[in-house]
């Protein structure tokens, strides 16, 4: 018991931090809430380093302390810290400000459970915990758009969550256990395995915004504060893919699940970029681009169990994605939410322009940026798993991606008719510096990631 708890220090600390934050919020001390949150996240990250190389389970196999869970913490906790800083610079001084910070930390706790869960019950718990907090975060502005977005998000979440729980009962019935490690028992019971798999795809696909479960994403991101959209687009999404990795690596591949996911992956990236091509609202544009990025993430899931590149690919791409997508949202926060707001930004604010170009090219997968290294891993894994056609589609979509992102870049270097609004707070500038540096130089240090 003591041993098990020791392995859970990062999660326990984050939970305690969130509780403390709620207490501080009761005293309406928003800055204190933020300080507690940042300190808790930092300490929790440090504690993670202690268990990073462990490969074990706690509490009877229900919770995994392994490579995926360890790196998930190392990526999601600092990512949450950056999101908190972005939120602070956007909503400082507003009522209920501290609640946002507390909710963000609670959602991240749910995300860690998704990434570490080794049991169906924990998967459900993670989905519910991330979901409940997210609905409230989206509804924060309390205007019509936010309320509508939150309602859509909630209804969609409730339905997909129920479907997932329903389907998981099949797996429980077939395998005789709720542990993922027992899913091998489904060997030969293809129908049962398939029903459960579809349920998991529905539940996690909703979290990850996979086509066709993505409809909530553009509305939710658009209705929510930009910083919350940034947070949801990276942390809960990455968590969903870590969860995919935890669930599916024990499922016998004979059930044909890799092919199902490969088809969804192809549809997701293609649809995401096609839809992004026609957006003029930057938040919606990045929302659809995030949908497309989910398709690339899923390539790593497809290769699970076959290619040794799959798990490192998901981890690397998650790290890159968190940095570059947060960065792109940070620019949107500073400059404005429509394409026109960026006109001339690159000419008048060269550093902000360079940062945005770096994020967008990295999202496209242009070397030597971080996103490229992630994609190389994902592509290699998929080829090794025999999905060459999926990689070809991924490559064709990279060209589509370039079209999407150049729609942002080109006007940035046109001369502006109106003065460019660009007044980032010191916090936002800090977030931009960190995310730009990570996107720019991490490929040089890609060797530190697990393989």
């Amino acid at each position: 018991m003591a041993r098990d708890l020791a392995f859970l220090f990062p999660e326990l600390l984050l939970g305690a931090t969130a509780m403390l934050m709620i207490v501080a919020e009761m005293a309406r001390a928003a800055r204190l809430v933020l300080a507690i949150g940042l300190a808790g996240l930092a300490l929790s990250t440090l504690l993670t380093l202690q268990v990073l190389n462990a490969d074990t389970t706690v509490f009877g196999g229900t919770y995994r302390i392994d490579l995926i869970a360890g790196w998930a913490k190392l990526i999601l906790l600092p990512g949450t810290g950056l999101a908190l800083l972005m939120a602070r610079s956007e909503i400082a001084g507003q009522a209920r400000e501290g609640s946002v910070y507390a909710l963000i930390c609670l959602v991240t706790l749910g995300a860690l459970m998704l990434a570490g869960g080794g049991d169906m019950m924990l998967l459900v718990l993670g989905v519910v915990l991330t979901g409940l907090g997210s609905f409230a975060l989206v509804a924060f502005p309390r205007d019509d758009a936010a309320t509508e977005a939150a309602m859509k998000y909630l209804v969609f979440g409730a339905v997909t969550g129920s479907v997932m729980i329903y389907g998981l009962t099949f797996w429980f019935g077939g395998a005789g256990s709720t542990l993922f490690s027992e899913l091998g028992m489904l060997e030969g019971k293809n129908l049962i395995a398939m029903v459960g798999l579809i349920a998991v795809i529905v539940g996690l696909g909703y979290k990850a915004a996979l086509v066709p479960f993505h409809f909530w994403a553009p509305d939710a991101y658009d209705g929510a504060p930009v910083s919350v959209a940034a947070y949801l687009s990276v942390i809960t999404k990455a968590a969903a893919f870590f969860a995919f990795a935890q669930v599916l690596r024990d499922l016998p591949p004979a059930t044909g699940w890799p092919l199902v996911l490969a088809l969804i992956s192809a549809a997701t990236m293609t649809y995401g970029y096609l839809a992004a091509l026609v957006q003029t609202n930057l938040v919606r544009l990045i929302a659809y681009s995030s949908v497309a990025q989910s398709g690339y993430f899923l390539m790593g899931v497809v290769a699970l169990g076959v290619s040794p590149m799959a798990v490192p690919g998901i981890i690397l791409f998650a790290a890159a994605y968190v940095a570059m997508n947060l960065g792109a949202f940070a620019i949107v926060m500073g400059a404005g939410q429509t394409l026109d707001d960026l006109t001339g930004l690159g000419r008048t604010r060269p550093w902000a322009g360079v940062a945005m170009v770096v994020f967008l090219l990295s999202l496209t997968g242009i070397p030597p940026l971080f996103g490229f290294v992630g994609k190389v891993y994902l592509f290699t894994g998929a080829v090794e798993a025999g999905f060459l056609w999926l990689v070809v589609i991924g490559i064709l979509n990279s060209v589509l991606a370039l079209g999407v992102y150049l729609r942002i870049v080109v006007p940035m270097y046109r001369s502006a008719d109106a003065p460019v609004a660009w007044n980032p707070s010191a916090l936002l500038a800090g977030v931009l510096i960190v995310t730009t540096l990570i996107t720019l130089v991490m490929s040089v240090f890609a060797g530190i990631f697990p393989t």
């Binding site: 590149m309 490192p312 060269p350 090219l361 242009i366 070397p367 030597p368 490229f372 290294v373 190389v376 592509f379 290699t380 080829v383 090794e384 060459l388 990689v391 070809v392 490559i395 064709l396 990279s398 060209v399 370039l402 079209g403 150049l406 080109v410 270097y413 490929s443 040089v444 890609a446 060797g447 990631f449 393989t451």
Partner: protein
Amino acid sequence: MPLLTLATFLPILGGLALMALPVRSARVAHGISIGVTGLTFLITVVIWSRGIVAGDFAQVEEIAWIPAIGAAYRLGLDGLSLPLVLLTSLLFLASAVYSARIGERAASYVVLMLMLETASLGTFMALDGLLFYVFFEVSLVGMYFMIAGWGYEERQRAALMFFLYTLLGSLPLLLAIIGLYLGSGTFDMRAWIGAPPLTGLAAMLALIAMLITFAVKIPVFPVHTWLPAAHVQAPTAGSVILAGVMLKFGTYGLVRFALQMTPDAFAQAGQVILAFGVVAALYGAFAALAQSDLKKMIAYTSVNHMGYVVIGVAVAALSLDPEIRVIALDGATLQMVSHGLVTGALFFLVGMLQDRAHKRDMADFGGLLTRVPWLGWTFILAAFASLGLPGLAHFPAEFQIFLATLNAAPWAIVAILAIVVTAGLYLRAIAAVFLGPENESWAAMPDLDRREKLAVVPLLILTILVGVAPGWLIDMIHTTMASLSF
């Protein structure tokens, strides 16, 4: 001293230093640009003096990068890459000298140029598949911003076309690199060359993927359509770098990757590749003949000249006689260098004409030779070189290529027709622009100034030197080609 690394990264470091400077006037920017490219050129000359070895890569520099997947930072040189490295550092120096008059956002311009130089040198020196791809793609991004930012009227469209075309073109190479990695467990290009990891269908698929990439880059008909648009709209130095350096990525890759890493598949597909080369050479010449825009005309002659390189490489793969193979590859490699020198000079000269007249249609000029003798005679010299006159740089290269062709694949000798066409089109251009009755609108046109002479004359001196006494260059190339086993 890791000179290769130094030469590769000195330009980008110069660019970063410029970005960090508080004063970024045009003067400071161009000063840094000329200083850094000059120093880089000197370093490459020292690298040249250190020499290469037969049968292997020389001066290898290696540092672990992602050890778990066998990717490392590896640089090295042989007789194929060293001439191109020297050409690259020379053309960037000449471009820096020429560009010194650019005042519009000079600092950003210089930073992009320096980034391009790092990417170009890295592409030729990389000995790691992943690293090669990184440099290869960075050059794309740099050129996109160069065309989009400093080009002419239709620059946005041309830049976008260039970027989309070549990105779509280069992604298949990534597939091939992944395939080679999965076949060998490393990204070390030396290992891929030493023992080609793919065989049969996998090798053929990898070859096709590589050919798509390099065909777009070279460019070969029918995937050349981005080239005239990009060249016409690019700023002059951009055109010089694009034609002089970046087209060589395609032919370099054709030898380094396609020929050396999938040799058997290449030999099987040899006739097809040869046919593409012949069509490109002929098509480029006839398309150039149809142009009245000088810049477009020179752009199309690039398609023609690079077609000869493709012919040379294909002949080398087809021939069973080792001597003929070496002659073909020597000629093809020399042709890359010659084309860089000659076409670089031609784009400079047309750019200089355009700086003065803001026009580049032949019909708008006439009788300029008496008005601007320096511009006129240098252009005539470069044009004669480009049409393959003996004693100038293209002749020894094309001679060797056709000699080998005649031996190994006689039918392909039809490509020699293109030389006649090129001769015709250059004579027509010279007559229209520099001879005949003088067009009075240009009575006040100034001749080349010192800066312009400094940019273009060294290229022409080398053109003559390579034409008259190509030995020093061919020996270097020959050292490697004679020991190639594929």
